[in-house]
């Protein structure tokens, strides 16, 4: 199936954190995505100059033809500051997708899921979490999520709500730079001993999805294999140097 550029219209904008925003796009005729997939966005300036970037889909497939993209603002970037500062409801740009067939989870498997996120690496994992809740999947799911400070936690309220619902979702936060008073959770970067403690609770049969800055993904993926998961049980999405 050919991958064609389609016109998306922005229908809503929502601030998630001071540096992270969600854009809801309406894409007529959009093929339902698989949780974990992304889209390519193409912006064309008046002089014909084009810039293209990839952004993960945050919403569940059932929301189509509405598609949520959650975008972190990267200072000095070409596209993310534009999406943050310039785009208003009603704007249009080109998208193609959904893209990817490896870093995806369809909800059919009942194997325990381990999701490991650094910063905005939580976005494609949130599509999995939302899909899992919507289809009533029985797969136990643990999200280990590293953020710098409490205000940097993306989807904080929704994650709290979903975890409190008792549907087999556990959310474990680690806050690497600043913790609220009385914080009893992790306060360091994700490492092997932390993953070992998490795995002791989920069991090593988990299918793991790891997404975040490359150094975090590298450490997490290597640790998970060291802790007994087969490499084929660990799917990774490194997104480069952008920090968590």
């Amino acid at each position: 199936m050919a991958l064609n550029w389609q016109v998306a219209t922005v229908t809503a904008l929502r601030d998630e954190t001071p540096r992270v925003k969600t854009l809801t796009m309406f894409v007529p005729g959009w093929n339902a995505h698989r949780p974990g997939q992304h889209v390519d966005i193409r912006l064309t300036a008046e002089d014909g100059y084009q810039a293209q970037r990839s952004y993960s889909i945050a919403s569940a497939p059932t929301d189509q033809p509405l598609v949520d993209l959650t975008v972190e603002r990267v200072e000095g970037g070409e596209v993310s500051p534009f999406l943050h500062d310039e785009v208003i409801v009603g704007d249009r740009f080109e998208v193609r997708g959904p893209i990817g067939g490896y870093f995806v989870w369809d909800g059919a498997a009942a194997d325990p899921l381990l999701l490991v996120a650094g910063g905005s690496g939580v976005v494609p994992l949130m599509a999995i979490v939302r899909h899992r809740a919507q289809v009533g999947s029985g797969a136990p799911c643990t999200l280990l999520y590293s953020s710098r400070t409490p205000v940097d936690i993306i989807y904080a309220e929704e994650l709290d709500r979903l975890a409190a619902r008792g549907g087999g979702l556990r959310v474990i936060h680690t806050l690497t730079r600043e913790q609220p008073l009385g914080w009893t959770g992790y306060r360091r970067r994700i490492d092997m001993s932390m993953l070992g403690e998490v795995l002791a609770q989920t069991g090593t049969m988990a299918m793991a999805f790891v997404c975040g800055p490359t150094p975090l993904v590298e450490v997490a993926a290597t640790s998970l294999v060291g802790l007994g998961l087969a490499p084929s049980q660990v799917r990774t999405e490194r997104f480069g140097p952008t920090g968590a």
């Binding site: 000095g76 590298e218 480069g240 952008t242």
Partner: protein
């Protein structure tokens, strides 16, 4: 996946992981280009490394996509080059996949 070519101050973070090349990506990052070139979704396609024989989804390949016109994709096991992809100025692509024993899709 996020705004990959944008970079922020990561001196402190990356210094904690001296052995990690912070610019390494997964093949997922070029899934759109692979789809364009091969005409179908490729990251789930299975392949065999021509160097070490590792069998895995193309999505496991490590991707190095810097400022140049080329994209280099390496085996996650032996780190040898499996596929090289070059965007040509006329919009066409040059694909060198001699590092793959096969790609099934």
């Amino acid at each position: 996946m996020t705004d990959q070519t944008d970079q922020v101050d990561q001196t402190a973070d990356t210094a904690d992981y001296p052995d990690v090349d912070p610019l390494t990506l997964d093949a997922n990052a070029v899934a759109g280009i692979l789809h364009e070139v091969f005409g179908s979704e490729m990251t789930g396609a299975s392949s065999r490394c021509g160097h070490c024989g590792n069998r895995a989804a193309l999505g496991t390949l490590r991707v190095y996509d810097r400022d140049g016109p080329g994209i280099v994709m390496r085996c996650s096991t032996c780190t040898e080059i499996v596929i090289r992809l070059m965007r040509r100025p006329d919009g066409s692509y040059l694909v060198d996949a001699r590092g793959a024993a096969y790609i099934r899709f």
